[in-house]
């Protein structure tokens, strides 16, 4: 019994030390400027889209110079994914998944191009260039008209064809 009591009080001491240390005081406050510099994520409602704008005409030029070598002259694909076409094929035997046929949100297009493309020099495009090339890719997919200008207001308002094409994980669907 004695021994057990001893163990018990040792355990209590340990527990209270851990509680006292719950606030470790490790780390440095992140300043608003630091956060603004690193936060490049865009929500589906357009949250955190930067200022600036670009249209399909400027976008065609960006695409020609910075994207077509890998994605093809008209987005048909190459080293990089096919970016155009495939609408209405998702339940076919050979579905074609592209920005136009598959992506649910246009905001994701801006987010991804800005963070990861062009593959050989990511984060090198200006906000205007990303708006413009996004507009151009959406135009190639027949989602916006030629001449459309995209900015922080108009981009999130775009209805992508496969907007409602996703369901939450309902597995297990197979196996016992």
């Amino acid at each position: 019994m004695r021994m057990r009591d001893g163990l018990l009080s040792a355990a209590i001491v340990l527990a209270s030390t851990a509680a006292a240390l719950a606030d470790y005081g490790i780390g440095t406050p992140a300043t608003p400027e630091e956060i603004a510099g690193w936060n490049i994520s865009i929500g589906r409602d357009g949250d955190n889209l930067p200022a600036g704008s670009g249209d399909t005409v400027a976008g065609a030029e960006v695409f020609e110079q910075r994207c077509s070598a890998c994605h093809g002259e008209s987005g048909e694909g190459g080293i990089g994914d096919r970016l155009v076409g495939g609408q209405g094929t998702l339940s076919d035997e050979r579905p074609i998944k592209t920005v136009g046929s598959y992506w649910p949100y246009a905001t994701t297009l801006f987010d991804y191009i800005r963070r990861a493309m062009p593959l050989d020099s990511p984060q090198s495009l200006s906000a205007d260039e990303v708006y413009a090339v996004s507009a151009y890719i959406l135009m190639l997919n027949g989602i916006v008209d030629e001449g459309t200008v995209l900015d922080a207001d108009s981009l999130p308002a775009i209805e992508m064809p496969n907007r409602d094409g996703f369901v939450l994980d309902d597995r297990p669907d197979v196996g016992q």
Binding site: A22, D23, Y24, I26, G27, T28, P29, A30, E34, I35, W38, N39, I40, S41, I42, G43, R44, G78, I79, G80, L90, S91, E93, R94, P95, K97, V99, Y102, W103, P104, Y105, T107, T108, D111, Y112, R115, A116, L119, P122, Q123, G165, F166, V167, L168, D169, D170, R171, P172, D173, V174, G175, Q176
Partner: protein, 427 residues
């Protein structure tokens, strides 16, 4: 004390290794007739067999610390990661673990599978930062030294890419080619819960968006509930600092969920009410179903197994006793049981599980077996602690069609021919 004992002085000393390199080069060069070489090699081998004194006992071997960071025997040179085919670009590609050549459950660090989307960055840990912001009371920046000051945790876990095991894998034959996007290691770091509590998570928070410091700025949303459960901010793998290919100096490790979520080169965590709907959780890592809808946020890796001996590409050397051996795992927890069939799935026998049997971890199983020399099809199925039974490919395709891309965890059968050759029975 010998003052040279801890120094590598004899750089130029001829060594067995150099000799060996020379002879492999000659074989590779193919200048000498192959048959002649084979006889020479056989004669040389015989010289090393009883009753003769093996040649490598007749002079001192390589110096101590000849390789300050040790390497496998040159005779194991074939045990390497493998990229399938010729990818269009090697910066967005994967390499696979040689499952058929490994024993036990731990994957050596140099053989852990890789999947990158923007190449492998070389990061100076002194210049690396983790920033936590969003729905927290105290947005904080951490250095690597900061993170190592927190209480640490080590756990052994498997990690699997949800694209492991293709739906259309024609021409793949070995365990590595078919299922090599799964590996297992001891991960050490700080519990994410500890670090999030330091920042003070706000009550409306539901998701944590992890972002990598690679050229893809890889981004995935992870449910907050999972982050407060068993997620680790890992800086070590099997005792040493994480390899560059695994996210040096820091990765988030999300046990049991598809490997892509364990974002490498972790530079920020944004706490949010909603997921970010990144390209990697919309365009990719969503599972297209036959009706044209896609499963999204399908994180969990379901129970799965594979026989690694005998497996595709191997050759049974003789009739008689063989130990069937393989690996089983589940994102839901521990492996409860593994069953093996040696008659094409007609009947099943319970395999022996090798300790330790850990949650969300590779588990080694074994079954003694006598091969009578007849053609047979062998396969294994895993049952995890939730009672879930790994399905057949037929059942899986019935439910999910052929276009899901991700989350194929079907039974893998191997065909053994009368000559002992083992191949993929699904081919």
């Amino acid at each position: 004390m010998d003052e040279f004992a801890d120094r590598d002085v004899d750089v130029d000393q001829p060594s067995r290794r150099n000799f060996l390199k020379g002879s492999t080069a000659a074989i590779g060069g193919g200048i000498v007739g192959v048959a002649g070489l084979a006889t020479a090699a056989q004669a040389q081998q015989a010289n090393n067999l009883p009753p003769n004194v093996p040649e490598w006992m007749t002079y001192p071997g390589d110096d101590t610390a000849h390789n300050p960071y040790g390497l496998p025997s040159p005779y194991e040179e074939h045990v390497v990661r493998k990229v399938l085919g010729t990818p269009k670009t090697y910066s967005a590609a994967s390499s696979r673990t040689p499952l058929q050549d490994l024993d036990g459950i731990i994957t050596p660090n140099g053989l852990h599978y890789e999947r990158h989307h923007g190449g492998i960055p070389e990061i100076d840990p002194a210049q690396h930062r983790l920033m936590i912001f969003g729905l927290v009371d105290r947005p904080l920046v951490f250095t690597m030294d900061d993170l190592k000051r927190f209480p640490s945790v080590s756990r052994i876990h498997m990690m699997e890419c949800s694209g492991n095991q293709s739906f259309t894998a024609t021409g793949r034959n070995t365990a590595q080619e078919l299922m090599g996007l799964v590996s297992c290691a001891e991960w050490t770091g700080v519990a994410l819960k500890t670090v999030l509590e330091e920042c003070g998570v706000q009550s409306n928070a539901r998701w944590v968006v992890a972002e990598g410091a690679d050229a893809a700025a890889m981004t995935r949303s992870i449910p907050l509930e999972k982050c407060l459960d068993d997620v680790i901010l890992a800086y070590s793998q099997n005792g040493e600092r994480i390899r560059p290919e695994q996210g040096y100096p820091l990765r988030i490790f999300v046990p049991g969920y598809e490997g892509n979520m364990s974002v490498k080169w972790l530079r920020s965590l944004q706490v949010r009410e909603e997921p970010i709907y990144s390209r990697e959780e919309t365009s990719k890592y969503t599972d297209l179903l036959p009706d044209g809808h896609s499963r999204q946020f399908s994180f969990m890796m379901e129970a799965k197994s594979i026989i690694t001996y005998p497996s595709g590409g191997q050759q049974l050397s003789a009739q008689g006793y063989h130990e069937i051996s393989g690996l089983a795992w589940s994102g839901y927890g521990k492996i409860e049981r593994v069953e093996v069939s040696v008659d094409g799935g007609e009947t099943w026998q319970e395999a022996q599980l090798q300790d330790p049997v850990l949650p969300i971890c590779l588990t080694r199983f074994r079954l003694p077996w006598a091969w009578e020399g007849e053609p047979v099809t062998i396969m294994s199925r895993a049952i995890d602690e939730t009672g879930y039974v790994q399905p057949t490919l037929e059942a899986l395709l019935d439910a999910r069609g052929r276009n899901s891309v991700y989350h194929n965890h079907a039974i893998q059968p191997w065909a053994i021919a009368a000559n002992g050759e083992v191949s993929n029975a699904n081919a």
